[in-house]
């Protein structure tokens, strides 16, 4: 797999000790956490929590369009942004790295998913924004100091020193 599509497997990531509450309605909450930072980007979990006691909404996945899913956008302080709409991904060959940032959500489900963001943010606020009209989650956002990401990237270390990163 190309280096831009996931974190380097030969590296111990740096942990960002933050869990962000990005959206909350009376029934749902959206959290970003598990931020693991590498020199080339960062992984995180996108978690959708349903308030205990509230009924589940059952839908046939085959009948759902992309607009029925949770939309996520990550915005850098310099104006660049990436989102989880795979229809807007750049078309590149495997060897040609796209311009960062690129957001790749590797798992998608009613409970959220796992996300890889290729590229580190510049210093300043890093914004996580989401909305899910089908679940009545309005446009919502939370900010994180990108310095925490950059400091965690500095703590990342090579698992097998002396070897070129994969």
């Amino acid at each position: 797999m190309p280096a831009w599509s996931r974190g380097p497997e030969g590296t111990v990531p740096g942990v960002v000790p933050v869990e962000l509450l990005v959206a909350r309605t009376d029934t749902y909450a959206v959290l970003v956490g598990g931020l693991l930072v590498y020199p080339t980007g960062f992984d995180f979990d996108l978690a959708v929590r349903r308030r205990p006691g509230r009924p589940r909404e059952y839908r046939d996945h085959h009948e759902r369009s992309w607009d029925d899913h949770l939309r996520l956008e990550v915005r850098f302080a310099d104006g660049r942004a990436a989102d989880n709409d795979f229809r807007r991904w750049p078309r590149t060959s495997g060897d040609q790295a796209p311009d960062p940032p690129l957001l790749y959500q590797s798992t998608v489900g009613d409970d959220g998913g796992h996300v890889w963001l290729w590229g580190l943010p510049p210093p300043g606020p890093l914004t996580f924004a989401c909305q899910w009209p089908a679940r009545q989650i309005p446009p919502s956002q939370a900010e994180l100091d990108a310095g925490l990401i950059l400091e965690a990237a500095e703590r990342a270390r090579t698992l097998w020193p002396g070897e070129a990163p994969p």
């Binding site: 497997e9 030969g10 111990v12 990531p13 740096g14 942990v15 960002v16 000790p17 933050v18 869990e19 509450l21 909350r24 009376d26 909450a29 959290l31 956490g33 598990g34 693991l36 979990d45 929590r49 349903r50 308030r51 205990p52 006691g53 589940r56 059952y58 703590r155 698992l159 097998w160 070897e163 994969p166």
Partner: protein, 195 residues
């Protein structure tokens, strides 16, 4: 009804995963600010990451990574139907001598229906590929102050042989649990006992 006829749709059974088998849904956890390299050989490395603390316990991930230069060997050559990582065994050692483990032979028989005495270490998800293995664990019950050791081993005879232990200060876990907050502050305490 014909053998091939689909049964009528039934509403969900209402089964609720008990609170001792999973983190609470209604809480934002406190993050434990550590990244742990448990052990490393020429071919594999074991990490503990994603430590998230709640008032009732700790959720974390155990990750096995394969050296990028190693040939793909995801299965135990002696038992090719099993992932080689399947037999990784994890134990936590508390300062007071208690030592919850993923060894299910040590679990009470009724752990799925009756609340066990904490601490109780439960694996609530695992998966992998030829690149490695990742399992998520829920520790029901917080450790006491003092050293908290993570001990991991492959049974003798597995390749590679690994028997590793790393300690952290349990105070980091307890402080993080103190930072956990309710997602819905008005929620009744017993609301989160269902799913």
């Amino acid at each position: 009804m014909s053998f091939f006829a689909m049964p009528a749709w039934q509403p969900p059974s209402g089964y609720r995963i008990p609170s001792w088998l999973r983190p609470p849904d209604g809480m934002v956890p406190g993050i434990v600010p550590v990244e742990l390299l448990l052990g490393r050989t020429d071919t594999h490395a074991l990490l503990i990451t994603d430590l998230r603390a709640y008032p009732t316990g700790v959720d974390f991930a155990l990750t096995a990574r394969r050296h990028p230069g190693q040939p793909h060997q995801r299965r135990d050559p002696r038992r090719p139907h099993r992932f080689a990582y399947h037999d990784l065994r994890l134990e936590l050692r508390f300062a007071d001598g208690r030592n919850p483990s993923t060894d299910s032979r040590r679990w009470p028989r009724t752990f799925e229906t009756e609340e066990p005495d904490p601490p109780f270490l439960y694996c609530h998800g695992a998966g992998g590929s030829e690149r490695g293995w990742r399992s998520r664990h829920w520790l029901w019950g917080l450790p006491p102050p003092g050293p908290l050791a993570f001990v991991c081993q492959w049974p003798p005879g597995r390749i590679p042989r690994l028997d590793v232990e790393v300690e952290i200060d349990a105070g980091l876990v307890l402080e993080a649990a103190g930072r956990a907050a309710s997602v819905w502050p008005a929620m009744e305490p017993d609301e989160d006992s269902e799913r």
